[in-house]
Amino acid sequence: MTHLVLIIALACTLLLLVGFLLRDALGGRGRRHISAAAPSYGEIPSRALMDRIFAEDDFSFVAGEGTKQIRRQFLGDRRKLALAWLSQTKGQATAILRSHLTAVGTLDLQPATELKLLGHAILFFGVYAVLRVLVGFYGAFWARSFVKNVLTLAGRLSGLGGSILADAGRTGLQVARSQGHA
């Protein structure tokens, strides 16, 4: 039964591919423009803008002064702004990737380099997807503090890991010395 399900899934994927090819053939997305120049990497969306969107001062001020309705509206607006900023950043990444891929298609590609770039792209889109979900469900401020906490935790774990390795190295060296190997 599993075999049949896999085969049907494969056949459906092929039919989907036929659909995409037909859509392009009928002019749905037409031919993509191929740049003759070297790829451009454009401007990254402003950091200052993001600082402002996530600024906790604004939130504290509104939380202290405003009514519940104003606070709700403020949070809703910040969520929209944060999502727009995320979309802009994703758009930039997509443009970079598209620009690179159309530029290098005719060159002598190195599989390892291409895999590395694909890895970076997957990681970027993974982080983007997580942030999009967090901001969408919990709002900009909660997402920001969550990411900060995760980063702090990761930093501590990394530091802890480093100390453990250093300790293990020292202990190993001492054992080796005591046995006369070093």
């Binding site: 039964m1 494969l10 090819l21 031919r31 740049s35 990497y41 969306p45 060159l107 990681l123």
Partner: protein
């Protein structure tokens, strides 16, 4: 003549007419020389279908005729896949090399899986054909995943061949999978459907191969670019964007 036999005759001759039209257009539209493997496949299917529906076969003789024809058409079909691969990636040596590596990996994996799975059950021609078609389907999916990833533009002719052929492989994988699972009860439906399914592919081919259309030439073909530099720039930009997402305040 029973209703089923009548249906098979009508759809069979419809297929033959479309194949004749396709081959006439191949000569008039000067596409025959450009896609020799595809037209060899179409010519073989034409002869096979015309002979198959013209002669009154005994069951045993038809079985031999059917399976011999099926295998020749399968081998010629692999040639069509090869022709699509060659034409689509003709101006993209780097992508061609990547595709070749990926496909080699797939063939090694399939070989390993077959070697491990040998002796799991009785040998079946139907299951073998299904497996070969499945591998062909995976090859086509990998090829078009690369085409989509590198935004490779497709010419109208080769796109048409690919659409019709992938549709044929998809219906074939589907039919063989069901026939293998359900058994002879499915043959009734399969017999009625297969000519119609092939007719759909033929209509697509006739429309897209009506006249010769050259493959689009990438406009950056002659532009000198340092691949290592371009890739490093792209990777750096993506990493910067990721850092930007996680640490928007620059911390």
């Amino acid at each position: 003549m029973s209703t089923t036999a009548g249906f098979v005759q009508v759809t069979g001759w419809l297929t033959v007419s479309l194949l004749v039209l396709l081959l006439i257009r191949a000569v008039v539209g000067r596409t025959f020389k450009v896609f020799p493997l595809f037209y060899s496949y179409a010519s073989f299917v034409l002869v096979r279908t015309a002979v198959g529906i013209s002669i009154k076969w005994s069951t045993d003789a038809y079985r031999i005729f059917y399976w011999a024809g099926e295998w020749v058409s399968l081998v010629l079909g692999l040639g069509v896949t090869w022709e699509i691969y060659r034409k689509v990636l003709a101006r993209y040596p780097g992508v061609r090399r990547l595709a070749f590596m990926l496909l080699s990996l797939i063939f090694v994996l399939v070989g390993l899986v077959s070697a491990v799975g040998q002796g799991e059950g009785p040998f079946s021609v139907l299951a073998l054909e299904r497996d070969v078609r499945t591998v062909q389907a995976i090859v086509l999916l990998i090829l078009f995943a690369l085409v989509a990833y590198y935004a490779i533009p497709l010419g109208k002719n080769v796109r048409g061949i690919a659409i019709g052929y992938i549709f044929g492989v998809a219906t074939s994988v589907f039919n063989l999978g069901f026939a293998n699972f359900v058994g002879s009860r499915y043959y009734w439906l399969w017999n009625r459907n297969r000519a119609l399914q092939f007719a759909v592919a033929l209509v697509i081919w006739c429309a897209t191969l009506w006249k010769f259309q050259p493959e689009p030439i990438p406009s950056n073909e002659d532009v000198e670019q340092d691949y290592e530099w371009v890739s490093a720039q792209a990777a750096r930009a993506i990493v910067r964007l990721r850092t930007h997402l996680i640490h928007p305040d620059g911390s």
